[in-house]
Symmetry: C2
Subunit: 150 residues, 2 copies
Amino acid sequence: MKESVQISAIGVIGSPYRNPKDIHPLKSRFTRGTIEIFPEYEQGLKDIEGFSHIYVLWRFHLSKRIDLLTAPLMQPEPKRGVFATRTPHRPNHVALTVVRLLSREANILHVKGMDMVDGTPVLDVKPYTRRDRRSRISIGWLDEVERRES
Amino acid sequence: MKESVQISAIGVIGSPYRNPKDIHPLKSRFTRGTIEIFPEYEQGLKDIEGFSHIYVLWRFHLSKRIDLLTAPLMQPEPKRGVFATRTPHRPNHVALTVVRLLSREANILHVKGMDMVDGTPVLDVKPYTRRDRRSRISIGWLDEVERRES
């Protein structure tokens, strides 16, 4: 069960952000960029144009540590459990973002909603479906943070 | 960029399903089960109870191949690009499911919406937030399939 497996990038992010500190969690919703899928995987993009939104699984390649308790940027106190946050400093360092798919040119996807830095390794792309859309949700400690921000 | 990294399970799925063929993509939305987080990561679950929905990242551990073009169960023809589907036979074999979090007992999460078999390795758990909830979506080739099913 606990054996390790190898994963590797299927593509790379093109983003205006050079530094994670430049990425604002709310403003990045409007940030445009690209997902370049390596040519050997391009065939796997067939039919993706029909989807308005896609999941991008990517690697927090700049994080070198794991914090089981973490201080979120938007509200550093009290510390939260890592699995109740989207912090980079997590086991396996895998990130998840829903982006709007604007268009595709061969192996390049043009998207809106980038919250990654330029050069980020992409691990997978999946269609966002009706099952992923949950209408009545509660968001725990984030609720207070988002009320303050908006 | 293309170097490999190691990932390993942080927990394991407890599910009534023993065989992937028993999992119906629509009915599994109501299937209950557990996510057992290994004790060494339990501290990372602090504050997760506040969230009604969580993402589970897990490994398609039964799939040993990659199909860039794939025949989805619900509509086998024509073949679709793997990144326009949620098929197991994909690069890196990482899966994603949104589940309803019912309760937590120490390192065990009780959830609804299992579409994994018993014993599936869990790679990460993340809170589902407002940003993940997209209201107007189009779902490409899946649209026709879902209309037929419902």
